[in-house]
């Protein structure tokens, strides 16, 4: 049995200022107040009232959807939507909770969570409406079942989309009112309405949303559908990235025996003509595009390798990084007996999960080289060291 409360001035305070608890107490107050005055409205008229409650609505902007749960239905459904619906709305959905009135108490599914608060509504499911509204800015409004009144449907959609658009405001207010807040979640048809399982479901859906973002970030995760596989890929990717960092820092240490990264010189060279202007001592040029011109670097380095290192370099084949092919930097045997590697293959680094073994061996090689060889500060020490770091894909 429904019971539409006219929004009197009691609910005049904006949703964002009240916690749900306060709102609920107000509902109950109103319910008691109106209980004797208004006739019970049947379910079929419910939707009509939803739409045409403009007659009874006053000017207060909130239309909090709290529709009372009816008796006689199997599911308790709680409509959760944003705290701050569109002020333009005229649908009035207030109703008291069944628990305090003489109605048969529906399963009031209320959960207390410290983070979110949403306005709860328990609605009749005789019409088999199943709705889940979004949380935290991601709205999943699934209006799965038909509604007897198409208009009310449209209104509901509008309300929810506008509610979602104003979720940011509600979020701020939610953050402020974190003390005693409830999460009101609608249980889907055929699912358990236990409060624990609802909480579980909310949590699971949050996690799966985030995993979707991760899918875009981690390469190769698109095909995998399943938490375990995706987690595996993520783990591999993070490990490979961390190893890359290790390897690159080792390489940098090898290249620079004195740890003097002369960024100004780097930019002043021909190599970076675009960034060669007035560098501050430590700071970077404002439009440093060093990291955005790797292809330019590659090509330039090819020429330079060929030209200035002449006899030292046998063959230097470069490929643009986009193609992801190997880049060979080979040196003639420099007269250091410990390191007589002819060539080192330098694959363009593409993150993939095949790296683990290679990186491991590579790291060990570098490590050993670092220990055994005594490095005189020769001009080509850096080059030789770096060329000895053999990396294969």
């Amino acid at each position: 049995m429904l019971h539409c409360l006219n929004g009197s001035g009691n609910l005049g305070a904006s949703c964002s200022d009240m916690t749900v608890l306060e709102r609920q107490t107000k509902w109950q107050q109103q319910q008691h107040h109106h209980e004797n005055h208004q006739p019970y409205i049947s379910a079929t008229e419910f939707h009509v009232n939803l739409v045409f409650s403009s007659s009874s609505s006053n000017n207060h902007p909130q239309s909090q959807g709290s529709v009372m749960a009816r008796d006689g239905s199997a599911l308790g459904e709680v409509l959760a939507h944003s705290v701050n619906p569109d002020p333009g709305f005229c649908t009035e959905l207030d109703a008291g909770f069944g628990s305090s009135s003489g109605f048969l108490p529906k399963e009031n599914i209320k959960k207390r969570k410290a983070q979110n608060s949403k306005v709860a509504a328990e609605s009749d499911n005789k019409d088999k409406r199943v709705k889940m509204s979004g949380e935290e800015g991601e709205s999943r409004v699934t209006n799965q079942t038909s509604n007897k009144n198409g208009k009310s449907n449209a209104n509901k959609n509008n309300r929810e989309t506008s509610a979602d658009s104003s979720k940011d405001n509600s979020k701020i207010s939610e953050v402020q009112n974190q003390k005693s807040e409830y999460i009101h979640v609608r249980a889907r048809r055929g699912q358990a309405t236990d409060s624990h399982s609802l909480a579980e479901r909310v949590r699971r859906e949050k996690i799966s949303e985030r995993m979707k973002y991760l899918q875009d970030l981690v390469p190769g995760c698109n095909k995998i559908a399943g938490k375990a596989g995706m987690l595996d890929e993520i783990i591999n990717y993070v490990q490979s990235l961390q190893r890359q960092v290790e390897f690159l820092s080792m390489k940098l240490a090898a290249v620079n025996p004195r740890l003097d990264f002369n960024i100004e010189e780097l930019f002043a060279k021909e190599v970076f003509p675009s960034c060669a202007q007035g560098l501050p001592n430590i700071g970077m040029p404002s439009d440093m595009s060093m990291c955005n011109t790797p292809s330019y670097l590659q090509f330039n380095s090819t020429q330079q390798l060929v030209s200035c290192c002449g006899g030292l370099i046998n063959n230097a084949g470069m490929s643009p990084p986009n193609m992801g092919l190997r880049r060979n930097i080979s040196t003639t045997p420099v007269p250091l007996p410990e390191m007589s590697l002819d060539s080192s293959c330098f694959a363009q680094i593409l993150p993939s999960s095949n790296w683990e073994g290679d990186f491991q061996s590579l790291y060990n090689v570098a490590f050993d080289q670092g220990r055994t060889a005594s490095f005189p500060s020769q001009p080509f020490t850096g080059l030789v060291e770096s060329s000895n770091l053999k990396m294969e894909m």
Binding site: K206, L214, I234, L241, S249, M250
Partner: protein, 185 residues
């Protein structure tokens, strides 16, 4: 999302600054020391670009500060070293509640007897796999031991982005340095 180029720029700036600080203190470092210095400066720079908005960055800085060898350098790099009181407070805040939680989790895990009750064995196995991998991911992430599911995924997201940026910047620097050597003119 943040502008990735500005993040890279900021990272590079801080990184170079950290390295310079390091090399001004110590001369004639061995290869490994250099590598450690580079890596540490890079990690700190990356964490500080987040400006302590994420948990992993806080954890990374906290771990670096705790390590005796790096402590001084960390404080130098991070600008004005925070007053010791604050550092201690943050570390205890970080450790106290979370240590209890981690102990409880371990205890629960060791104690619970898992039996596939009425569910199928397959789903039980799947759940176990997911748990195992979550644990592994937590071990990878700095400060990840004490995160719950949702925040773990968010932190992983952010961490991966930062790592990617870091790797790209380092790679560029490596290439540039090599070119410098080959073309000293």
């Amino acid at each position: 999302m943040r502008n990735i180029n500005s993040v890279k720029r900021e990272f590079l700036k801080k990184w170079m600054w950290g390295i310079r600080k390091y090399s001004s203190q110590k001369k004639n470092m061995s290869l490994l020391e250099r590598k450690k210095a580079i890596k540490l400066s890079a990690d700190l720079a990356m964490a500080s670009t987040r400006n302590k908005t994420t948990r992993w960055s806080k954890a990374l800085i906290a771990n670096a500060s705790k390590d005796g060898n790096n402590k001084v350098h960390t404080e130098h790099v991070l600008g004005s070293s925070p007053p010791p009181r604050r550092v201690r407070k943050s570390s205890t805040n970080y450790s106290h509640g979370t240590r209890i939680r981690s102990c409880r989790n371990t205890w629960r895990r060791n104690r619970a007897v898992h039996r596939p009750k009425d569910r199928s064995v397959a789903s039980f196995i799947a759940k176990k796999l997911v748990q195992k991998r979550t644990r592994r991911l937590k071990s990878l992430l700095p400060g990840g031991e004490f995160m719950d599911g949702v925040s773990l995924v968010e932190e992983t997201l952010d961490y991966i982005q930062s790592l990617k940026a870091q790797v790209e910047v380092m790679r560029c620097l490596v290439t540039a340095s090599e070119l410098m050597i080959l073309n000293p003119s």
